[in-house]
């Protein structure tokens, strides 16, 4: 693995060069918050951003995405036929994505790219994307990545990891894609001996993570007993089922398919959906198997912290980015719920059904 040193003075010029071969995305401050945006010419990613309000998932999996278009105009030969829409899958790169968001794509891939099912839109977009991570040297107070299978210098999902040493950047090139991007940017000064320095900064950063979850017991728990635990009423009481937690989450992947027709033409699109919404599970009969907010809140946590754990044996469906903790309008905290679940003891749970 190669380490490249980037003089901060050449950073902007390198980014500018990349615009010739990539659509660039990065964190940009808009109003009070940072969000990922496609960068215009001369626009630089804001590397001082602690983390963005919404995750980077929309770059690969937009909130609304057209899949097909159709015409209802019977004078046309192709009327009533679904045709794939043209989507721009030219190379894109995300500069300054945090390791948690990059790792999240790996988690989502376990669902969207399996040997049985392939989500063509997600897979094509993912393949077109190069992820240049920015290591977190000052993690946030709600970041609990190190106990959620990730970390401030975590490399999974990334094509390169950039570390800010203060005077300059050091970048670990992790994949072929990363190699290509660095060549295109003209950053090529190797820093062979810098591995130790990165390792030291990594340990320093990991030591700053002040927040954690325990997940060691989750897979051993009995699903039905956990499902019937008495704490769900307490956990779900304040929830307003707004779905914010799932929209801001880099690992939440659910969507809904809609047709929208205007006059004689229309599109079939998919939009993010959320298990927190009653409509999500409403059957055509009118029956709703998750008819109460307790059902829905339980579903979110059971999915992330139990069903996913059991199904994929790859840890929890959470990278510890802390966004849901920060954004939940009523302060439902996944760390607290994870603790309740992980330490659940069916014998002691007197009210369990």
């Amino acid at each position: 693995m190669k380490i490249v040193k980037i003089d901060k003075k050449t950073w902007a010029a390198g980014i500018e060069k990349l615009t010739a071969s990539y659509r660039l995305f990065g964190p940009v401050k808009e109003g009070d918050f940072h969000n990922f945006k496609e960068l215009g010419s001369g626009e630089a990613p804001d590397l001082d951003c602690l983390n963005t309000r919404l995750s980077a998932k929309a770059i690969i999996y937009p909130q609304s995405e057209n899949m097909f278009e159709y015409s209802l105009d019977e004078s046309r030969e192709d009327h009533h036929i679904l045709k794939e829409v043209d989507t721009d899958y030219s190379p894109r790169a995300v500069i300054g994505i945090r390791p948690c968001d990059a790792k999240a794509f790996e988690l989502v891939g376990l669902n969207f790219d399996t040997s049985e099912y392939k989500d063509p839109y997600w897979i094509k977009a993912r393949e077109a994307t190069t992820l240049i991570g920015l290591a977190c040297s000052s993690p946030g107070s709600n970041c609990f990545c190190t106990t959620a299978g990730c970390g401030p210098f975590h490399e999974d999902g990334l094509d390169a990891l950039v570390v800010d040493t203060g005077d300059h950047f050091l970048a670990k090139i992790l994949t072929e894609k990363g190699e290509q991007l660095f060549a295109a940017a003209g950053w090529k000064q190797e820093a062979k001996a810098a591995g130790k320095q990165i390792e030291a900064l990594k340990q320093e950063a990991e030591a700053k993570i002040a927040s954690s979850v325990n997940t060691d017991n989750l897979s051993a728990l009995d699903t039905t007993q956990l499902y019937n635990a008495s704490f769900w009423e307490d956990v779900s009481f304040s929830c307003i089922n707004c779905g914010t937690c799932t929209f801001v989450c880099p690992t939440c992947w659910c969507f809904d398919i809609q047709d929208e027709t205007h006059g004689n033409s229309g599109v079939r699109m998919r939009n993010w959906d959320s298990c927190m919404y009653p409509l999500f599970t409403l059957h055509g009969t009118g029956h709703n198997p998750r008819g109460t907010k307790l059902h829905r809140v339980r579903q979110r946590f059971m999915h992330k912290l139990k069903y996913y754990v059991d199904k994929y044996d790859a840890g929890i469906q959470c990278v510890g980015c802390g966004r849901c903790v920060r954004s939940c309008p009523v302060n439902i905290d996944i760390r607290r719920v994870c603790e309740l679940m992980n330490s659940f003891d069916s014998e002691k749970d007197t009210c369990a059904a």
Binding site: E30, G31, D32, F33, L50, R53, L54, Q63, S64, S138, G140, S141, N142, D234, F237, S238, I240, N241, C242, G243, T244, F247, V248, D256, Q258, E260, M269, N271, Y277, P278, L279, L282, V325, R326, S327, P329, V330, N331, I332, D333, R335, R336
Partner: protein, 315 residues
């Protein structure tokens, strides 16, 4: 307001112990600065978790609709007005409720405080009118009165309008408040500019509907935006659909909204959708002399007809 909590706990324990109520709805301490979580207490042990400070901006009336228990609810001025609205709209019965009134001194604007600092805020402590904000390498003292949510700065009903117990002496109501200066500015805009004002206002909306779900008024079993047979509103990020949601929801709140600020407070992207509800509040006041939730004995103007009702806005 910090001193209220002892009284809140004392009343709550008493009500639970003597069986007057099955549960108390209040707040417990949040896990991040400037956040408390709506919470219920069913035992005197649970009561210990209750807190009260300037981070209790969520409207607790939202947790009442259609509940069947006997409930003790902690109510600020605005919550109490939404409780009145719930009662006249048959969402809860007066007899079910023991209202623990809190004379309110306003809630702080977490979004504004967060925006004032570059670094992450790790702690916010409150002492009288002083708010001490601290983080890694900084500490700053702020006057609470300067940091209130806009709805609280404009509030003229801080004392609960209905209550069974009161946790402290009533507070003085704010005088000479011009509630609608910003609304008049928007009213005065030419149509094109008004349109772009609203397009900008809602451009960051992610359609999570937190604003709707945090609002005590929005209790419809199926909201018009969720209706699928027929479907009234598209579901994508189309600005026309987003605006349709906001305008229609605001109209559904006309003559009912108490400007409690919950909707704005919960918005994950910080949109001030109260601009819409306050315009309707202004109209309700100017046309019908009506302020929502002040009395259980008067029907709201939009569900009664009086021969003298103004009609010159019908063109």
């Amino acid at each position: 307001m910090l001193s209220y909590i002892d009284k809140i706990k004392e009343i709550s324990s008493r009500l639970l112990k003597d069986g007057t109520v099955d549960m108390i709805i209040g707040f417990r301490r949040g896990t991040v600065p400037m956040m408390n979580e709506p919470h219920f207490a069913k035992t005197t042990g649970d009561v210990e978790q209750l807190v009260w400070d300037s981070n209790c901006g969520i409207n607790l009336a939202n947790y009442l609709a259609n509940r069947t228990e006997k409930i003790g609810i902690i109510a600020k001025g605005c919550d109490s007005r939404n409780i009145v609205t719930h009662i006249i709209e048959n969402k809860i019965k007066r007899e079910q409720l023991t209202i623990i009134g809190v004379p309110c001194k306003g809630m702080i604007d977490k979004r504004r405080i967060n925006a004032m600092f570059d670094g992450e805020i790790l702690q916010v402590a409150e002492n009288g009118n002083t708010i001490t904000v601290s983080g890694d390498g900084f500490e700053k003292k702020l006057e609470k009165d300067d940091m209130l949510q806009q709805n609280c700065r404009l509030c003229i009903h801080r004392n609960p309008v209905i209550y069974d117990e009161l946790v402290a002496e009533q507070v003085e109501e704010q005088q000479d408040i011009d509630r609608y200066a910003d609304i008049r500015e928007i009213e005065a805009l030419p149509p094109k500019e008004k349109e772009s004002y609203f397009t900008d206002l809602f451009s960051a909306c992610i359609r999570c509907y937190a604003c709707r779900n945090a609002c005590p008024l929005c209790y419809c079993p199926t909201c018009f935006v969720d209706e699928s047979r027929p479907q009234w509103v598209g579901k994508s990020q189309d600005p026309a659909d987003i605006k349709t949601f906001h305008f229609l929801r605001a109209y559904h709140c006309a003559g009912r909204c108490t400007d409690c600020g919950s909707c704005e407070r919960v918005c994950p992207v910080g949109i001030n959708m109260r601009i819409l509800t306050r315009k309707l509040e202004k109209d309700s006041f100017e046309l019908f002399g009506w302020e929502a939730g002040l009395s259980m004995d008067v029907r709201p103007p939009l569900d009664t007809y009086k021969p003298g009702d103004p009609d010159d806005f019908i063109k």
